[in-house]
């Protein structure tokens, strides 16, 4: 007999918490901000009950980031959640996280901007900021989710990527996804993979904390385990000490990029829907992907051969999948709730192969299936 999965009916924000707990998150620090506060509230309720877990409310988003990086260095799986204004404050320490290679998950529930903007309305205006927000050249992984079920799944994935590649991972939700209440299922333990960071297997005196290897991801000891590593945001050599030598700087920074670059196939996640014979393809992410899904169905009814490429990984940008689609289609349609942030990427990789059209909406309302359908039928 088949076991039945536990079904829940809850907000996207609550699904994020479920996902985090399944992935082994044991430390959450945050600061309240609409529309991400539910993540923090549920964490405050759940974490103290879990085995050896910590919840703490900090004095601002900068402090939240500091606390989770500290806890990450102490060996915890960590997370924080915020929205636009808080995400802006976090940027400096996201860069620090990239530099010291601290695994962590940052959930950003996007709301209308700029500045205080529209606290309770959806937008997708933080896409490029998630990629390039912190100063300096750095690699980063940005994921997205369109349904409540995906909120859970992608949170688990985010933790796995963070631990696997020792990097900050940003989960970009929008207000609609976060505040949609719908049914979702908790996967069985054998249905999902949980990855934890690799700890050093050599004795402390042999250990080089930032040594290059084939994977490019060095093992990470927790504080207090006897390895006495020096952790610094300054550009450091493989022993972790600040360096000014060009050859060491070059090696350190290029390894940071390579450790993500060489695993592109693992990281780039997309979902294709009716794209096999599509003549026009919609490329969407977040809540817009749901509208697009519906619009594609309706366009098919009207005889338009439409398809959908839903981006689950936003950065590194899923170039191969988009190029493949561009070669086959007459037109790519990119609807998004901003003035054209992802369409820049699509146009960049399209590089003249086919036509790229955009739908942009910044009035605090969602892009409806009808709006996408109208564009699909016009092409």
């Amino acid at each position: 007999m088949k076991k039945k999965r536990t079904q829940l009916f809850a907000l996207g924000n609550e699904a994020v918490v479920e996902g985090a707990l399944l992935a082994g998150c044991t430390f959450f620090a945050g600061y309240p901000i609409t529309p991400s506060s539910e993540i923090m509230e549920v964490m405050a309720q759940r974490l103290p009950m879990e085995e050896d877990s910590v919840f703490i409310q900090m004095e601002d988003e900068i402090a939240s980031m500091g606390a989770i990086i500290g806890a990450s260095l102490a060996g915890r799986k960590v997370m924080t959640a915020t929205s636009g204004p808080g995400f802006s404050l976090m940027q400096e320490l996201i860069g620090y996280g990239c530099m010291v290679e601290a695994p962590m998950v940052i959930v950003n529930v996007m709301r209308g901007g700029p500045s205080t903007g529209l606290p309770t309305s959806p937008a997708q205006g933080d896409v490029q900021m998630a990629r390039w927000g912190t100063h300096g050249d750095h690699p980063i992984i940005v994921l997205s989710a369109s349904t409540v079920q995906q909120c859970l799944d992608m949170t688990i994935t985010a933790f796995n990527f963070a631990e696997k590649y020792r990097t900050p991972v940003i989960l970009l939700l929008d207000e609609v996804t976060a505040h949609t209440r719908e049914r979702f299922e908790l996967p069985f333990a054998e249905e999902y993979e949980v990855f934890s960071r690799i700890t050093p297997s050599v004795p402390p005196e042999w250990f080089h904390p930032f040594q290059d290897s084939l994977r490019g991801v060095p093992p990470m000891p927790p504080l207090g385990a006897g390895y006495r590593v020096h952790v610094t945001g300054l550009t450091h050599d493989e022993m972790g000490f600040p360096t000014q030598r060009p050859e060491e700087i070059e090696e350190a920074i290029s390894r940071l990029f390579r450790k993500i670059d060489q695993f592109y196939p693992d990281i780039m996640m997309v979902e294709e829907y009716k794209t096999e014979d599509a003549e026009v393809a919609v490329i969407a992410y977040g809540s817009v992907a749901r509208s697009a899904h519906h619009a594609v169905d309706r366009a098919r009814e009207e005889g338009v051969k439409a398809g959908l490429l839903e981006l689950k990984t936003l950065f590194p940008f899923p170039r191969p999948q988009v190029v493949k689609l561009a070669r086959r289609c007459k037109c790519l349609l990119v609807p998004e709730m901003n003035m054209g942030q992802m369409s820049r990427e699509v146009k960049r990789v399209n590089n003249g192969i086919t036509r790229v059209r955009t739908i942009n909406r910044v009035d605090g309302r969602i892009i409806t299936p009808t709006q996408i359908l109208k564009n699909l039928t016009q092409i």
């Binding site: 829940l8 500091g66 390895y227 006495r228 590593v229 020096h230 000490f241």
Partner: protein, 315 residues
């Protein structure tokens, strides 16, 4: 002397870090020496000590000592310390900050760390100036003093770190100076043994950036000044109000042992675990019963538990 050599070999990192970058006459090295002696006297192992520093001259101290060391961003050292102490309360966390670090960019974190009484030992190395960036005024530069950004004298008032820590709710507050190495050893030792948020203000003369612009002939003159203007805090309290002008009290201002945040959190967790266990036992007992009695009671109990967990959101 051999003892000192032993300490140096045991606690300082040997490869690639020396010569250090501190100027002649700087007080930071005196603090680092004190810190090492205090940790040694407290009998702590190097593995359990975490030294966290911010940015600036004080920020560079962490790299020289052979503990778990973290050189963080400007002003945020205390937030890292909070995360680390909560994540692993077994660790002994020592935070080294400059005055710009602790009071300007990180002022908010300082008062909140003190308020929440997290078990961290914070040492503020106060040199009354931004040394590493070239001598700009800081929030502890005294009024009317000169710096690169106050060429006509500082107009603003300066912070009193001790008063601020007392007002914010720290467990242990002390002030010492680079001239008083023995006192520094003693207060750091006391802080390491005290629970909760312990704050030590350490006056560290900076002749290179501050002294030269403020008519101190040399570093020695700054140390002599520290010697002449400081007074034990108990004596200072007995002093008449009119005679207090220009006198800097040093010593331990406050010492109490309120439980630290991580201890209180552990307490709450223990309570929750206990309640959870009781509930599980009750459920077990309820399940065991119906085998004897015919009433199918356990269903009710199990259902009640489930709905409570899922808040009745079962589809």
């Amino acid at each position: 002397m051999s003892e000192v050599t032993q300490l140096i070999h045991h606690y300082l990192r040997h490869n690639k870090k020396f010569p250090h970058m501190l100027c002649a006459g700087c007080g930071h090295g005196i603090l680092l020496g004190s810190l090492i002696r205090s940790v040694h006297n407290a009998g702590l192992s190097k593995d359990e000590v975490v030294v966290i520093s911010g940015i600036g001259c004080s920020g560079r101290l962490a790299v020289y000592v052979d503990f778990n060391t973290i050189h963080t961003t400007h002003g945020r050292a205390l937030t890292f310390a909070t995360g680390i102490k909560m994540a692993n309360p077994e660790l002994v966390v020592i935070v080294l900050m400059g005055d710009g670090d602790a009071l300007s960019i990180g002022g908010n974190h300082l008062i909140h760390a003190a308020r929440r009484n997290i078990g961290v030992n914070a040492i503020i190395l106060n040199n009354e100036i931004y040394g590493m960036t070239g001598g700009q005024c800081s929030s502890t530069t005294p009024q009317d003093c000169f710096s690169m950004t106050t060429p006509f004298g500082q107009l603003e008032k300066s912070f009193d770190i001790v008063d601020m820590a007392l007002a914010s709710g720290a467990n242990f507050v002390a002030r010492t100076t680079a001239f008083h190495a023995q006192l520094t050893d003693e207060v750091i030792g006391q802080a390491l043994a005290n629970p909760g948020f312990n704050l030590i203000e350490f006056f560290s003369p900076c002749h290179t950036q501050y002294g030269r612009k403020n008519k101190y002939k040399n570093a020695i003159a700054m140390y002599q000044d520290l010697k002449s203007k400081t007074m034990d805090v108990d004596k200072y309290k007995a002093l008449e109000e009119s005679k207090r002008e220009g006198v800097m009290p040093i010593g331990v201002f406050l010492k109490r042992d309120d439980p630290a945040l991580e201890t209180r959190y552990a307490g709450v967790r223990a309570k929750l675990q206990e309640a959870k266990q009781k509930k599980a036992e009750a459920a077990k007992a309820a399940q065991a019963k119906p085998a004897k009695a015919k009433e199918p009671k356990p269903d009710k109990g199990a259902k009640g538990k489930e709905t409570k967990q899922d808040k009745g959101d079962k589809a």
